[in-house]
Amino acid sequence: MLRKELVAAAAEPLILSLLARGESYGYAIIQDVKARSGGKMNWTDGMLYPVLHRMERRGLIKARWGESETGRKRKYYSLKKEGKAAMEKHHEHWTLVHDVLSGLRKEHYV
């Protein structure tokens, strides 16, 4: 299981990257992250919503009310142009962290 600080730091880039594939909603976002991480990344479900709302206020994503397959009201989120730019920045930063860590790890085994 990943440390909660790391999960929290990864929330925004993960949400942006998932929304880059198309609009989605809270429950689906959580299930997607759980599945992709093999269950190792677990948010407290309710805590996703403050993150989504903060990102919406910052103009990175937009929301609309729609309907689920069963006719229930559901709030869908999608990426805005500003969100795409923020996602690119996140990818750049996380790739840098990954590269530095990989480099150090290789040195360790040389």
Binding site: Y27, D45, S68, K73, E82
Partner: protein, 140 residues
Amino acid sequence: MFDLEKTITEWRRQMLAAGIRPPALVEELEGHLREEIEQLIKTGMDASLAFEIATGHIGQPRLLKHEFKKIERNSMKRVIIIALGVFASLTGPALILPALAKHKNMGIWSYDIAWLIILGAIIALAGMGMVILGFKKQKA
């Protein structure tokens, strides 16, 4: 006998009572809760246990409220910074312009005139800085 609808209504009431606002947010959380309950019931779990697990995943209303309050506080701070910045940006010229008019009338530079112009310029620049900071805060 466990009544799922009644229990969800009570849960919604508790969320509102805990100060989770606006009601549309509670509605969004309720949608999430219902989806999770439905999925758990599909696996063969009984409704009562499914409700317990799903509400556990959503989290305590107190903690949720705390997280949403943080967003409101940050927005309020930004609005205050921008409003103060705009006020200062207008106050600066309000000092500079009369000082320049006084200089034009008197035809000389006095210590008072120079002081008012410098002070006005500092206030106006600080105001503009605050406005920029306020908008940057939104992006951060």
